[in-house]
Amino acid sequence: MSEYVELKRPLFTPFFMALALLVGLAVVFLAVRFVNGMGSVANLNGGYSWGIWVVYDIVVGTALACGGYALAVTVYVFNKGKYHPLIRPALLTSLLGYGFAAFGAFVDMGRWWQFYNLFLPWQMNFHSVMLEVGLCVSAYVMVLSIEFLPTILQRFRAQALAQRIESVLSRALFFVIALGILLPTMHQSSLGSFLIAMGWKVHPLWQTLHFQPLLAVLSAFTMGFAIVVLESSLAAAAFRRAPETPLLAGLGRIIVGLIVAFLVIRFAAILWQGKLGRIFAFDLGSLMFLIETALFAYPLAVLISPRGRRNAKKLLYAAASMVLAGALYRFDAFLITFDPGPGYSYFPAFPESMVTVGTVAAEIMAYLYFVKKFPVLPREEHAAA
């Protein structure tokens, strides 16, 4: 009866074991980090206090995990029920993305044993973007867990307890879903607000001040759709299933609209703030900006024509380009063109980058585990229909 099925494939493939190896390495480095301090594995310094752990795991990672958010808006707010089959895998990637982002935040926390202060009302600084992000991410991980709970429970349907929980859940689910839409909107925009407070250290082309929250949430939303397309296409290719191109083509149309909105607002902001000349300065900032814009423009060019949208391969490439564009937009603002002043430099250390690689590997492992053991992926016939 369900439109979702578990994938009947062996879990412990050589690929899976290779990922496990990467995770093992990351665990070793993390042990060093917790015993000897962050400096023993990471290249952070007085100017670059945030490295890839924050910028990849949290800033980029949560944006990559916006698939669940984007689809929830489409399905439940704009009532496009036909995308419903895509929602479970998207929720799963969101849950994993956010879960590991929270984990990354914890690892990066210099005084992690005091993290509970974030949840003590008398300690909260309501002006702080970080507080907002911390609370929203924590809440959203919980919301995603609840949203994903039916998938877990479906497997244990025989049990009475599971059924009772599910019946309670289904009555409150609309509220949970609403929260699951609000929370990412709030903190994805806040990730942009971070940049306002960083002030002059953010490159002028990325320092759009009042436009930061809007640009951040727009790009995250776009990345959410792109990641759904990407994930679905990769899964189809990897598990040799039929691609869900017709459904994805619809998402492609949405992506086009969002990219246009993003680019228009961004260029308008730059123009309004009189920084247009910076684009053609041909320094690091200008080059990164041009690369970014090209990565945004490519999916726009491909997906604007219905033919491009219906081509599975082109759709995938467009989505990949969009994901890269959104990720680069964040990397550029927070790290690559971020300049805290003369003399400071940052490039991740090997152990530091391996911790991030290990996190991604763990995410993929968890994804493989869930799609193979739980009904996550849509039934193939459905997708082909």
């Binding site: 007085g46 419903h84 992690w112 002006h127 509220f175 003369p342």
Partner: protein, 328 residues
């Protein structure tokens, strides 16, 4: 979902975001005002002789070890602010670097320590109130028991002042707390800061922000070459004076207005950007950021309305069934 509802929803979203954006520029809070009894320091780079007595005194007051060069402790070779150094004397030298307080072929000293901003970025961004601006003295202090080590203060500080101790598994943020931290409390006891007390020339002068600003402006009003009686120690009750010819100062007091102003102000003969001062306007980034955040999250009104609307929409769509097939 019919056409009408779609338009309603999208119109609502557009209006909400447009309103948020528009009001953010209207409602944005202005810079904070200096604390009523703000204390601070005035660093006059032209008086600094580079003796580093302030660096030593600071380490003594704060119980911090010297930063050795190459493993052996011979002397303090701190290059910059760090978890071991809250105050450091640096130099800007150009060309031959022969003449003090001259730009071409000259050099100038510069003191790096917390500026104690009037509208501090670190306080604004800290999620757990680990950094606080004292309501009376304006001193920006740090509460180690609240800090979660997220290091947002470091990103939010325009001067890169707060320093996390990366080489310690239980590391914390280190920054100048104007010698008034728990266990030191020099200001509360009516003393001045360690560095101002140690400074032999009055290059680091202690006092209230108002008195220091007055003193700084008095110096700027003097003609270069004119002999001025420079006070040492506390500008309100100097322990002594010394005479010196007035140099050619830059025309502004750094910290009077920059990003809302600072309680620790600087005077110099060479341009401030050469001394590593960041490019700041008069508006503090904290005020812009809080303006945007405040607009969106004022009493959580906007999120609450949004949540209500979303709940209604989602519930209606789930119960009414999706228009294009599929169901939960």
């Amino acid at each position: 979902m019919d056409r009408r509802n779609f338009f309603k929803a999208s119109l609502g979203a557009t209006v909400a975001s447009a309103a948020a954006l528009a009001s953010s520029s209207v409602q944005a809070r202005p810079n904070l005002e200096p604390a009523p009894d703000a204390v601070g320091m005035l660093f006059d780079a032209t008086l600094c002789v580079g003796c580093k007595a302030c660096v030593t005194k600071c380490k003594q007051v704060n119980g911090m070890p010297p930063v050795p060069m190459g493993g052996d402790v011979h002397a303090d070779f701190a290059l910059d602010l760090s978890a071991q150094t809250l105050n450091v004397i640096k130099v800007h030298a150009e060309g031959k670097g022969a003449v003090k307080d001259v730009l071409v072929d000259g050099f100038s000293f510069e003191k790096r320590s917390c500026m104690h901003c009037v509208d501090p970025g670190c306080v604004s961004v800290c999620p757990v109130k680990a950094l606080k601006r004292h309501p009376g003295t304006g001193i920006v202090s740090y509460d180690v028991d609240a800090c979660i080590g997220c290091r947002t203060c470091m990103t939010g500080c325009p001067y890169n002042v707060p320093q996390y101790d990366y080489n310690n598994a239980l590391g914390k943020i280190h920054k100048c707390q104007m010698c008034n931290q728990k266990g030191v409390e020099r200001i509360d006891q009516g003393m001045m800061t360690g560095c101002a007390e140690a400074c032999p020339t009055g290059a680091t002068l202690f006092g209230t922000r108002a008195a220091l600003l007055e003193e700084a402006k008095r110096r700027l009003a003097l003609k270069p070459g004119q002999v001025y009686n420079y006070p040492r120690g506390d500008v309100r009750k100097p322990d002594s004076f010394h005479e010196k010819a007035v140099p050619e100062y830059q025309r502004t007091v750094w910290g009077e207005k920059e990003a809302g102003g600072t309680n620790v102000m600087h005077l110099s003969s060479i341009p401030y950007d050469k001394l590593g001062m960041p490019p700041l306007g008069e508006r503090s980034f904290a005020s812009i950021s809080e303006g945007v955040q405040g607009t969106v999250y004022n009493y959580m009104a906007l999120p609450a309305i949004a949540l209500g609307g979303l709940t209604w929409l989602v519930r209606r769509n789930i119960e009414g069934g999706h228009d294009e097939g599929g169901k939960q």
